[in-house]
Symmetry: C2
Subunit: 211 residues, 2 copies
DNA sequence: CCTTGTGAAGTTATTCACAGCA
DNA sequence: TGCTGTGAATAACTTCACAAGG
């Protein structure tokens, strides 16, 4: 085999964007690196560098065959399989995510929610059943869970994530402001902090106004 | 004055994290770069490099005075003022954001929502009134709007964002999967795509399992 | 001694420049 | 000519190594 090298982080992010772009119905069969680049605001060189990491897919003069690109990217991103997702913490954000239609399209199946509030346990949100947090361990034994989305209150985040790791979860999407680093090599934690994005935008606007 | 240099992007992101960390009630008056670094999973050098960009705040042997750090970072991030935010598109994600308590703490005031569905126009979500999209221009004339959060359906994203720019909005937080680049130098668009984060995590897990 | 601040070295990511091919 | 693929140059970012200071 040629290269099992893991892709650079930035490349992965950009591949996700190429993928979403190419999913939109395209009139043409081929697309050039420059067209992709212009639509997403990157340079065409970086697009080509990214795409050559997937193998030699381009055809000089014509560009890249969209169908092939999509297939190749979806394999690399792991979208040729279905991912089972649980939502841990079914408050406002958690339940909004359970209703978010964008996931199923990409083969992310939300298979259960977990919470500690008696008010919602055993209820359903968007057809997805909510269980008590204590049931996670059993649930994981009986179901394949690939990704846990953590939307518990900040002060519970650390404990919850450690508990999830002890249950054997390998992929965690942490929506809380708390930073938790994975102690285990094979557990990956990605963090999304909406507040940080607001703070960043505020800072950028702030410097714009001053200059 | 010494330097009006704009801060590196990564530094801004990290400063936001330092800020959130330092906001938590701390027992001590001083904190060292190493303590910050360990809690957030960075190196202590990078923390010091970031913090020296704010001026010489550190005291050898003691560390950084938390109160001073918070004050300095909040000035740089622009949190010494209040930011007025509108939510454009009050569907599931938009209304979840309107209920999200994390913003007000950082002086982000959601002052209005906008949508085109008659079902919700003139209603209130979490005490915030929803107006018809057509009223944005007037609204902006009568109210200072610093940041527009775009949570409209994907196919409306491009048009909506261009419309917001034409209305004079300078800061946009784009939650749709559509990439829209700012045509104007002084308009900043930040993009948050939840699906991309899922795709990234899937890809990382995917490569983990293969190796 | 402990912790900051910082030049130098090292690493990673991006752009430049151009060969090669349909 | 138009577009890919890629080595070389450049830029951005991080780590290393250590001087300085309470």
């Amino acid at each position: 085999m040629k290269k099992i090298k893991t892709l650079p982080n930035r490349t992965i992010t950009r591949l996700s964007l190429y993928y979403q772009l190419l999913l939109k119905p395209q009139e043409r069969e081929f697309i050039s690196s420059k067209e992709i680049a212009d639509q997403l605001g990157f340079s065409s060189e970086i697009v080509r560098k990214d795409l050559t990491l997937l193998g030699q897919l381009g055809i000089p003069k014509k560009g890249y065959k969209i169908k092939n690109l999509l297939e190749r990217i979806s394999i690399v991103l792991g979208l040729n399989k279905t991912w089972n997702v649980i939502i841990v913490g079914c408050g406002k954000l958690g339940s909004a995510l359970m209703k978010y239609p964008g996931f199923r399209e990409h083969k992310f199946n939300i298979i259960a929610g977990f919470d500690i509030s008696k008010k919602i346990i055993n209820k359903k949100i968007n057809g997805i059943k909510i269980y008590h947090l204590n049931h996670i361990k059993d649930f994981i034994k009986q179901n394949r869970v690939d990704i846990a989305v953590v939307t518990v209150p900040q002060e519970e985040a650390h404990r919850t994530i450690n508990y999830l790791i002890s249950c054997g979860i390998k992929g965690i999407l942490n929506f809380t402001p708390t930073v938790v680093n994975s102690t285990k090599e094979d557990v990956k934690i990605l963090k999304i902090d909406l507040t940080v994005e607001f703070l960043r935008l505020a800072c950028i606007l702030n410097t714009l106004n001053k200059s």
